[in-house]
Amino acid sequence: MGVVMIRVRDLTLRLPSGGRTLTVLDGVSFDVEDAEVCAVTGPSGSGKSTLLGLVAGLDRPTAGTIEVAGAEVTRLGEDALARFRRDTLGFVFQAFHLIPTLTAAENVAVPLELATVPDAPARAATLLDEVGLAARGHHYPAQLSGGEQQRVAIARALALRPRILLADEPTGNLDSATGGGIIELLLGLNRERGSTLLLVTHDEALAGKADRVLRLRDGRLLDPER
């Protein structure tokens, strides 16, 4: 039994929707251990992406607590959350979310620069090399293919060696061959660095590669732990 990296207890999120209240998450509790690869699956609308967002402090739950790397996320203010994300989390999104006005290298350098790491451009170049895009650093996102964009996003997510990686449908916008390559890269780099990976996907094959799978339906865990 390793150290618990993510601890979620009785997580509930209700949103107003057209005059009624919509329960997106309903009393979800689970733990993720250090260096574990944990997948969250479920049909669309089951609340998986919302769960990921709450763990990252992108939104606030209606009730419940979330502890990530020893910090109680639900208690941090907006700016403290931003710094917490910078220092602890790495993100990979379905839509890549690269900044269109920045080159690939500059996109990778953003977290390094935010953390005022010296020599950010050189380190960004090394990271791009690690994801196999050493030659494309000066290209803008619009000039890259989907797979290449996602590689840049992975390099960016890993830039500050975060203890936790959060991935939201990382292959959702890619064809299956490209997606497979991306998953190999993501899992390989995660293993190499010994970080924890929380992965949201509706792809069962991808979920099968995880150490553990959490299944969500209508905002509840199907097989609640503990």
Partner: protein, 847 residues
């Protein structure tokens, strides 16, 4: 928060998105250009007036009086001469010049001594010493005249010219007279003669209107201020005005400072309109940047870092655009100088003033900062969770901004207005007017949106769709209507003011105004002149009015001294003029029928016989600080006449009849040297003939042609209106930039909408018509709101500032609404014409 990240990000964002900032930059640049253009002009005018001050005054110190200088003044000047100063005396008056063929023209005569000029040079054609040109010669004394006189009378050098009772020979053309201000409304061209020649004309008689001036050029060892103060002490007579060169032309300076201030406010209005464009451009930019902002927040950028990034970006662009604007304003300088040259009393240079440039750039930068700050506050509120929600619509999420944050922004803009206006009062009026205008235009825009929603039931596809487009989310209606509406307000208000004033001035609209004033009519000429005038104007002529020139010697028994006048001048410069001015007095047994008594009552015959009484114009009474029961003492050619104020009158000065500040009771002025003023009203074609006949029979009588003076005033008004319109053009340009920017911001929506409509079977023509309805409605609403505001603004100015009757000219109103609708339609159609060519499928697939 480190500075490096915001700096780097700001640069990278700008690098990628500079096109979005073209409109933003244009808004800032146009406003700054307007302010710099006006500011530089004002500095140049002021500088020229200061630089040329001694030349314009004609000396270091000037003594000026309405009658020959007394013994004490002559003695004081002699003492200065002994101390090494040079002095010279001048006399100036209006006379009638007459050519050999009998044509006549009022001229401004100036008689000089050989020592003239003390500063500067008189340039003549042919070039020759002035004294030689003016010496008496065979066939009459020499005279140097303006080219305008030769042109008007059809004369050339060497020709004869009669002036009063003498005949002159034109020996030269006056090219430049150093101490003559190109007066705004002069009575006629200049005729320069020697002092001896003037004496022979017979124009200087008791009661004639002559200005006596003595000019002093001091040796380097004596300061002008000290010499002027000594002279003021030595000359007790307050009718002699002592001026040193550095206090000369206060009225002229005030006029040009005010003109510059008002033009500056028009420039500030363009910057304000630009502010709407700035806010709109930044709002659109932030909306487009939402995804990037959310990603950066996920990556760990806090709200302050991001706000700093975008502020840096907009600020750098604002300053850059301000620099471009300052360069534009500087480049426009020669144009503005040329436009205002006919008004300017001195030669203007298009010289740049560093402080004006700095101020312009600062105003531009600060306006950009303040107007960008409000939409940029949204950056802090963008939720990072946007990265996860793929279903977030543009309109579903609204930034919550602290309304309190608008306070410092508004206060900052108000402070900028006060800074530019140069006074708290004027700045406050500007801010108040701008706020009221913005509120009204916002209301109009609101009404338009409501109309758009209601209009869904309208008949016809194009009309229905076009009206629905007005209610498009994003508030584009409010932006277009306010920005364009403000510009229209300025333009239409200028046009309304100009036409109201022009109507007021035009002689044709006056039923009772005379065509001529004949002044300096001697007692023995009155009956003969009246007969001549009666014959010319069809049988009757108004009785000539006797006048006596006098100045004020005491108020309520307190003698007017230089000290008292200086004290009053320091307190209220405008009011002090009433103490020193020359009064033209008359006497009457009954109240003038056109005037209204506002206080007291007219004197009875018995009261008039008992002791002198005076009826005073109410404004003069207020400025002098005397009321009914008080006394005025006039110095009438050296004899004191004390009269009790019996009543106050309101005078309609606009009537252009013979009006008086002070009317004395009959008998009060007995024995004083009186001249008469006669008037005549004849048709325009008969004017020249009548003038020639009067001057031929009465060479000393001066005819003042009212029509000509009014026409010159109209021309001056036209020049002023042109300058203001020139400035207002900046705001119109800015308004159009805002319109184009706003349409660009909704470009994608429009494209999508047009494609959907076409997919559903609408022809391109139908879609184009729908857009046309929308643009025309926006323009019409802006035109209507702006024109309405302009009417209110013009009415306030006409009623309370200019104090002339209000007339509403329909042409600017129709043009204001029609042209704005048309212009908006044209700009809008140009901006969206290309959208209609896009293939629907390509657009739909793009989403």
């Amino acid at each position: 928060m480190s500075v490096a990240f915001p700096l780097r990000m700001a640069w990278r964002q700008t690098r990628g998105a500079w096109r979005h900032f073209l409109g933003f930059g244009a808004c800032v640049a146009l406003g700054v250009a307007a302010l710099v253009a006006v500011g530089t002009l004002a500095v140049n005018l002021d500088g020229a007036l200061t630089r040329e001050a001694k030349t314009l005054l004609g000396g270091d110190v000037e003594l000026r009086a309405a009658r020959p200088l007394g013994d004490e003044a002559v003695a004081a000047l002699e003492r200065l001469r002994l101390a090494g100063a040079r002095t010279t005396a001048l006399q100036e008056l209006i006379g009638m010049a007459r050519s050999a063929s009998g044509r006549t023209l009022p001229v401004e005569v100036k008689a000089v001594e050989p020592a003239y000029p003390l500063y500067g040079v008189v340039v003549t054609r042919p070039a020759a010493p002035l004294a030689r040109l003016l010496t008496p010669r065979e066939g009459g004394a020499g005279a140097v005249v303006d080219a305008a006189l030769l042109e008007r009378l059809g004369l050339g050098p060497g020709d004869r010219l009669a002036l009063g009772e003498t005949t002159l020979t034109i020996t030269g053309v006056l090219v430049r007279e150093p101490d003559r201000l190109a007066s705004l409304v002069g009575l006629g061209p200049r005729v320069l003669v020697s002092a001896e020649t003037l004496a022979r004309t017979g124009l200087v008689r008791p009661g004639s209107r002559v200005r006596y001036r003595a000019l002093v050029r001091l040796p380097g060892t004596v300061a002008a201020g000290a010499a002027s103060a000594d002279l003021a002490r030595a000359v007790a007579d307050p009718g002699v005005r002592v001026t040193s060169f550095d206090e000369a032309q206060p009225g002229l300076r005030r006029f040009f400072r005010r003109l510059a201030t008002y033009l500056g406010l028009v420039g500030l209005a363009s910057l304000l309109i630009g502010g709407i464009g700035i806010a709109a451009a930044v709002t659109t930019f932030v909306r487009r940047q939402r995804a990037t902002i959310a990603v950066l927040k996920v990556l760990g950028a806090d709200g302050r870092t991001l706000l700093a990034t975008y502020l840096l970006q907009t600020q750098a662009l604002g300053v850059l655009a301000s620099l471009v604007g300052a360069a534009l304003g500087a480049a426009a300088q020669p144009l503005l100088v040329r436009a205002l040259a006919p008004l300017a009393p001195v030669a203007l240079e298009a010289r740049l003033d560093p402080w004006t440039l700095v101020r312009g750039v600062a105003l531009g930068g600060l306006t950009a900062l303040l107007c960008a700050l409000w939409p940029l506050l949204e950056v802090r509120a963008v939720p990072p969770s946007l990265v996860l929600r793929r279903d977030v619509e543009a309109g579903a999420w609204r930034a919550r901004r602290p309304w309190l944050a608008a306070l410092p922004v508004g206060a900052g803009l108000a402070a900028l207005a006060v800074w530019q206006a140069g006074s708290l009062g004027l700045g406050a009026i500007f801010v108040g007017a701008a706020l009221a205008a913005l509120c009204l235009l916002a209301l109009v825009a609101r009404g338009l949106v409501v109309l758009g929603r209601r209009g869904l039931g309208a008949r016809g596809f194009a009309l229905r769709q076009g009206l629905a487009g007005l209610a498009r989310p994003g508030g584009h209606a409010a932006r277009v209507v306010t920005a364009l509406g403000l510009a229209v307000t300025l333009l239409v208000a200028v046009a309304l003011l100009e036409s109201a004033l022009a109507r007021q001035i035009a002689l044709e609209r006056r039923d009772t105004a005379p065509s001529f004033f004949f002044v300096d009519v001697q007692p023995d000429q009155v009956d003969a002149l009246r007969r001549l005038l009666a014959a010319a104007s069809g049988g009757t002529a108004p009785a000539p009015t006797p006048v006596v020139r006098a100045r004020l010697a005491a108020l309520d028994g307190v003698p007017l001294t230089h000290e008292l006048i200086a004290r009053r001048r320091a307190a209220a410069p405008d009011a002090a003029r009433y103490l020193t001015r020359e009064y033209v007095l008359t006497w009457a047994g009954e109240a003038p029928p056109a005037d209204a008594l506002t206080e007291g009552r007219w004197w009875t015959e018995a009261e008039a016989a008992a002791r002198p009484r005076v009826s005073l114009e109410e404004e003069a009474a207020r400025r002098l600080g005397v009321g009914v029961g008080g006394t005025l003492t006039f110095d009438v050619q050296g004899i004191a006449v004390t009269a009790e104020v019996t009543n106050l009158r309101r005078v309609d000065w606009q009537s252009l009849s013979v009006n008086f500040f002070a009317i004395l009771s009959p008998g009060a002025l007995d024995g004083a040297p009186a001249t008469w003023i006669a008037t005549a009203r004849v048709s325009a074609v008969a004017e020249a003939g009548l003038q020639d006949r009067v001057v031929a029979s009465f060479p000393n009588v001066t005819a003042i042609p009212v029509r000509e003076v009014l026409e010159r005033a109209t021309a001056l008004l036209g020049q002023l209106a042109w300058a203001v319109r020139w400035m207002a053009a900046f705001s119109v340009a800015t308004g159009l930039v805002v319109v184009a920017g706003t349409l660009a911001a909704t470009r994608w929506e429009r494209l999508y909408e047009s494609v959907i409509l076409r997919t559903l079977g609408a022809t391109r023509g139908a879609v184009a018509r729908a857009f046309a309805v929308e643009y025309a409605c926006l323009g019409a609403a802006a035109g209507l709101g702006g024109t309405l505001l302009a009417v209110v603004l013009a009415w306030i100015v006409v009623r309370f500032v200019l104090d002339v009757p209000w007339t509403l000219a329909p042409a600017p109103l129709v043009l204001g609404v029609g042209a704005t609708a048309g212009l908006s339609l044209a700009v809008g159609s140009l901006a969206t014409f290309r959208l209609l060519g896009q293939k629907p499928l390509a657009v739909l697939r793009r989403d």
